[in-house]
Symmetry: C2
Subunit: 398 residues, 2 copies
């Protein structure tokens, strides 16, 4: 992923609290400069985790100045005890740093339903604080991982109003991935200054076309969150969508989110292939999304990709059961990369098993469905279903 650029105004420290393992750090503290504004979107799962409840509450105050993340335990499904534990950790960090507990946003990821070992976390805070440094993005990318097999991070520079701004982001996520209005954990920062309301709008929109268009297993996590930080150290201000440089910056932000989202699918539990489902010429975006997700979630489609077996009938069967208003089956064309497999709703005359096989042996495959019903489209990223998915999830807690 190349070198991760530091974001002026943002420092990161990590430590090992030994929550689930002692081999790598599992605690991250992010320190924000006073000028920073923060926006966040959270899971729509009705059983949201304790840190989500606490972070949402703290965000209602003036801008927070610290973020505290732990991996290894989701602090979910524990009711008031979970909320109390999250608040205790926030207060402990705030105490060390001379701020109020409500200036800290807590985040957790890991197993659901086991009590958060708050004492262990609190004991590790001085080490994380001592570690604070602008160059520690990669350490953060590593410390937030759970079943992920590798770090997910992205950095870019973008010219905004004739000044060189930076965007750096990290994310984690591999299983329980079917973000709904929000996603797994991701932290993205820039050094320009952005109005808080605008920051939230930009984040929501960028997430809609990145983290909200991916799936590994169709399961929405209780702990999903994406946080966007604008430190305001660079003297460039985005006040609204007409501010000079807005479009360039927003494009770079979307690219950052899309890169991180793609990395999550690529590292999906047990995934061996990245599957891009594109639905085009649909009657509505809703229809296109529903159809794309139905195919993306079908375990039969996922195993057929794992096997590199061009069993396209499963794609057709999944399309046929999608919960959409109208589907004119005799108009549909389906492509696997450059190969047309279905034309007018039936097997394409020039399609050969050999051609299908050739495409399916690739590591990245695009399934494109043209519905010939309208102008709407949607793209969803998914992955295949392998033995390792079962292995990882059957042995998750052992």
């Amino acid at each position: 992923m190349g070198r991760l650029l530091p974001v002026p105004g943002v420092r990161i420290g990590t430590a090992c609290a030994g929550i689930k393992q002692y081999e790598r750090d599992d605690i991250v503290v992010i320190e924000l400069v006073k000028t920073a504004s923060v926006a966040a979107v959270f899971t729509q799962n009705k059983f949201c985790a304790a840190p989500v409840i606490v972070a949402q509450s703290h965000l209602q105050d003036a801008s927070p100045c610290y973020v505290l993340i732990n991996s290894g335990n989701a602090n979910a499904g524990l009711g008031k005890a979970g909320v109390d534990a999250a608040e205790r950790c926030c207060n402990a960090l705030a105490g060390e740093l001379g701020v109020t507990g409500r200036a800290v946003l807590p985040f957790s990821t890991g197993v659901i339903g086991e009590p958060l070992p708050a004492d262990k976390i609190i004991l590790s805070l001085p080490e994380a604080i001592k570690d604070l440094n602008g160059n520690h993005w990669s350490k953060a990318a590593s410390a937030i991982l759970t079943t992920d097999t590798r770090e997910k991070a992205y950095s870019c520079e973008v010219m905004v109003a004739a000044k060189k701004a930076v965007i750096t982001g990290v994310a984690k996520g591999s299983g329980m991935i079917r973000p709904d209005m929000a996603t797994m954990l991701a932290y993205i920062a820039t050094d320009i200054s952005i109005d808080k309301g605008l920051l939230h709008e930009m984040l929501k929109e960028a997430v809609e076309y990145s983290f909200n268009r991916i799936t590994v297993d169709g399961d929405t996590s209780t702990n999903d969150a994406v946080v966007l930080i604008a430190s305001g150290v660079l003297e460039v201000v985005l006040e609204n969508r007409d501010s000079p440089g807005y479009a360039d910056f927003f494009t770079a932000l979307v690219e950052t989110c899309q890169f991180l989202a793609k990395e999550i699918v690529r590292d999906g539990e047990g995934a061996t292939k990245l599957i891009r489902i594109q639905v085009e010429k649909a009657a509505s975006t809703e229809d296109a999304k529903e159809l794309a997700y139905t195919i993306a979630h079908s375990p039969l489609v996922k195993t057929t990709f794992f096997a590199s077996d061009p069993n396209w009938g499963r794609i057709l069967a999944a399309a046929g059961r999608a919960n959409i208003e109208r589907l004119e089956v005799d108009k549909i064309n389906i492509h696997l990369d450059e190969i047309c497999i279905v034309r007018g709703g039936v097997k394409a005359k020039d399609y050969t098993e050999a051609a299908g096989q050739r495409v399916l042996s690739r590591k990245e495959i695009t399934v494109r469905l043209d519905l010939e019903q309208g102008d709407a489209s949607a793209e969803v990223l998914s992955c295949d279903l392998s033995y390792d998915y079962v292995k990882i999830n059957a042995e998750y807690r052992t």
Copy 2:
């Protein structure tokens, strides 16, 4: 499954056409007495298979007198060529028996998108006709199987208006199982006489509480069909819901459907456990069904059952993402068989991992969610997700 009772007025013959294998029969002919009435429900998949289109058309005529089933090829995704092939098979059977082609209902199950080997099927018809016999239900149960590992059949006797009536049914299905208003293949016959309109109503209702409440992988097949035959040989007539014996007969019919549906889940691809999801005290039946299916389909929940790991947080996370109007998370209680794991939306105080483990090591497990929101309820049968599911579906066509 005990001995399958013959149904007076119904004879069955099987043969091996060698469609996909030569080890067992793959063709079934069912002959119905002239007095018989027939009702059928079909898949709601928009890409319905050619035999479904043809059977629906033929059903519009006077009662059919023959049913022709093949396994090994679904005759789906082939457009007009598929319909022509199905009609050719019907006409060939009709020609051998001196009836019109529209008196034959065709059904196919197997791989999607490969041309139906109609010639092979037609060549095998004389053998199947020669084999016609009232005692061949078990041969039919075997000949219709695909990835199934065993026959699914049920027989019972029921007193209807002081006469002993018989119900016998066979079914197949193991993968692509998430029936939607209809299901996999099932053929059920009785010897009493039932008004055709009533027969259809009874079938629809019985299916709603049996085949329409099961899932293996969430995928709805292109070829699903359930057929109910009333031969009318026994001199008992059900004209409407007030006819003497209606209630007893309907109860027996529902039991038959539920037994066959359960057998399909038990034999789900790679399944090692039967999972019964009961949602109680829901605001509406729709909510209860949606919640039950969301849990039933979650690959994370399914793998946790496979691993016998009481990772109940996954059940809670699936419940939280279900697409229902209102879920009061702090009211929910969740039981695994007799063990309460979640009370008032959080981990039950008296719950122990050892108790959870004990339940999860069973072969049949009931997950019960009490929502405390209303009077509605729904039950869905599902199974776990194992290595063998991936193996069966990755190697399906090899």
